[in-house]
Assembly symmetry: C2
DNA sequence: TCAAAAGTGTTCGATATACACCCATGC
DNA sequence: GCATGGGTGTATATCGAACACTTTTGA
């Protein structure tokens, strides 16, 4: 009787967002096994270790992926459907990548953000990683497509709660236009640019710099930066 | 090497909110083992079965607890600290309740809501269940106190997103005053009653009934009901 | 007639939305 | 001089917050 309780492996899977070509992209990695011809992509993830918290496992995955130690991340859901790992190809991959007879796998999904201009010095584990536009995500193994879908809802919630995290998707110096396009990409709708300027002006933690764009064939845009200290002061004062 | 991946049991724990005496309460159950004198309470929960999704496990726990089959519930976080089940008393309880040598336990926390006037016909499993005011929760095993704490934040988020769920905490017929006190309890602040009347009036799915209170020693309050169909129509039209 | 809770409107400030033209730059 | 994107202000609607008195009922 007691044996019917699940005794299982637990993994974390990370949806890492980046912003490129005015679009949201996510990081996908190549699976270890090659199936000829087809790119065989998945979300970066890993089984968790014995003495490891899930949050730590997610940090570890991201570090192995990007070389960045303490990326912002947010757990958003545990996926545990009994048949999420039933596809024969997925079962086989589990056998090769981890060990045979993993009959079931529960995963905890995380959201994270990364500047795409950051060089990803991934730590040997992944053959290849690539940014993939969110509207152009191929079919992924397990329930990774569903995880991606839900992560899009979650990223909006995250921003409502912590407006600062959008700046993790932009370079240190950015233009209003970049920020504007980022918001449009995240909310998937067009946002009036004049109202947007007002909105940014109201963010006391977005600081205008003297510096402007150079060598652009139109009026040069001013650069701005995100002031973390001002943001935190504001947050704690509320 | 591969053996260092976690291979573990997974449980669900449910924070069930009720509304009584103008306060939020949560349902606690008595652990199976008695420690003399002290009430030994915990959140209702269970290990999950082999072929069971976590959501289903949570539904099962709630059914065993209340006799209600499809309660609204919301997964809100996976708790997986390696030392969440390190307390000797907790280890011993796990041994007795489930089986020896559960060295680690990951849990997925759920939020749910229940009318306290509903008779809880709990299905034999729990010796005793009791409603406990949220401000008066005793020390609980594992990290259940933290789970309770986070559930309070989560219930607010849930209401923002799905205003209808508050009505699961009230009887079918309720007064504005009850609804008002419920909101005050959830947000833990006083809310201006006139503004609140306006707010309720703007909820097209809260329907005034002809019926009023009887035998009260003050002006009788009108009853209202929640109209689920009107609510759903509104939701889908947006 | 008193105690206790029910019910009711207006004003103000803040915030979101809609909307169109001139500016700077490189080619 | 023209194409390209940068930058700006005003008017209106909506929402939330503040605020005090009258009504109904049973005891």
């Amino acid at each position: 009787m007691k044996t019917s309780f699940i005794h299982t492996y637990v993994s974390v899977d990370c949806v890492v967002f980046g912003f490129e070509d005015d679009k949201l992209n996510i990081l996908l990695v190549q699976r270890n096994v090659d199936r000829k011809g087809l790119k065989d992509l998945k979300l970066p993830g890993s089984l968790i270790y014995n003495e490891e918290d899930v949050d730590d496992a997610a940090h570890r995955v991201l570090f192995e992926l990007t070389g960045i130690r303490r990326m912002s991340l947010k757990q958003f859901r545990c996926f545990a459907s009994p048949d999420r790992a039933n596809d024969p190809g997925d079962v086989k991959w589990l056998d090769v990548a981890y060990q045979p007879n993993i009959n079931r796998l529960i995963t905890v999904a995380y959201l994270s953000l990364c500047k795409v201009d950051r060089k990803l010095n991934n730590i040997s584990k992944y053959k290849q990683t690539e940014w993939c536009p969110i509207d152009d995500v191929p079919q992924l193994p397990f329930d990774h497509n569903q995880i991606v879908k839900e992560s899009l809802i979650e990223i909006r919630r995250w921003i409502e709660h912590s407006p600062s995290i959008v700046f993790e998707l932009l370079p240190q110096k950015f233009t209003i236009s970049q920020l504007h396009k980022l918001y449009e990409a995240i909310y998937n709708k067009s946002i009036d640019i004049r109202n947007f300027h007002k909105k940014v002006a109201a963010m006391s933690y977005v600081i205008a710099l003297e510096e402007k764009q150079k060598d652009v064939s139109h009026r040069a845009a001013r650069y701005y930066k995100f002031d973390k200290k001002a943001y935190n002061k504001l947050k704690t004062s509320i």
